[in-house]
């Protein structure tokens, strides 16, 4: 179902906002992870790892799902489709992949928060390089999806070609007989 221009613009705004917001949230996590690794203040270090899990549930997970859902809506509601162009398929796979890894990683956030909350755990065991590594990886994946969305590299799938052909036939059938030859060129 193709969306009307007004709805399409609204859906595009929602998709861009959630996707850019997701990148921003990952950057904030990268900043937190660096503070957690470098700050000399024990309370700050423990605080960083304590706050990561609830913040991820409140910000990262909703933004990831918002980006995924609005992206699917964009694909289904425009002529780009979900499986017609290779760049759309790759972007979808990367977004699903990043969201799945984030959900798996929530358990890690929970464990790190538990260690940080344990007064018996020394600072060396509270500090952890894992969030920095994963934030950098997430940032890379999200930048790749952004590049795909902006540059839209060429490449139509077999399904996409079939759909284009059907679309042309439909358009051709609607045209007056005298104009039919021009549409297929």
């Amino acid at each position: 179902m193709i969306m009307s221009p007004r709805v399409r613009k609204l859906a595009l705004t929602a998709h861009v906002t959630s996707s850019v917001g997701w990148i921003g949230a990952v950057l904030a996590f990268l900043g937190m992870s660096i503070v957690g690794l470098t700050s000399p203040d024990e309370q700050t270090v423990r605080g960083v790892y304590l706050v990561m899990e609830p913040t991820a549930w409140a910000v990262l997970v909703p933004l990831a799902f918002a980006s995924l859902v609005t992206g699917i809506v964009q694909g289904l509601g425009t002529t780009w489709g979900l499986f017609r162009h290779y760049w759309v398929i790759f972007k979808l796979i990367l977004t699903v992949f990043a969201t799945a890894i984030l959900l798996v990683y929530m358990e890690t956030f929970r464990i790190m928060a538990r260690i940080a909350a344990d007064p018996a755990a020394d600072l060396a065991s509270v500090r952890n390089a894992s969030p920095r590594f994963h934030a950098l990886l997430a940032l890379f994946v999200l930048l790749v999806t952004t590049l795909l969305a902006i540059y839209k590299p060429r490449g139509v799938t077999a399904y996409g070609r079939r759909k284009q052909l059907e679309q042309r036939k439909r358009t051709n059938a609607m045209l007056p007989r005298a104009l039919r030859g021009y549409n297929s060129e």
Partner: protein, 62 residues
């Protein structure tokens, strides 16, 4: 982020572009690597990645 200003119908090349083959290969390898790591090592543990100082935080601190 589909751009409504650009016509999707213009992209009609018959062959699979080289970038698709390269990108697809890299993506497949990366996903397989992550799945293997998850399968072999189990779900993410905080001690899975070494700190720059060379020591790891205890993954068994559960």
């Amino acid at each position: 982020m589909a751009d409504p200003l650009r016509d999707a119908e213009q992209q009609t090349d018959e062959r699979t572009p080289l970038w698709v083959k390269v990108f697809g290969g890299i993506l497949l390898a990366a996903i397989l690597l992550v799945l293997i790591l998850l399968f072999v090592r189990g779900p993410h543990r905080p001690g899975g990645h070494r700190l720059s100082g060379g020591h790891t935080s205890p993954g068994g601190h559960r």
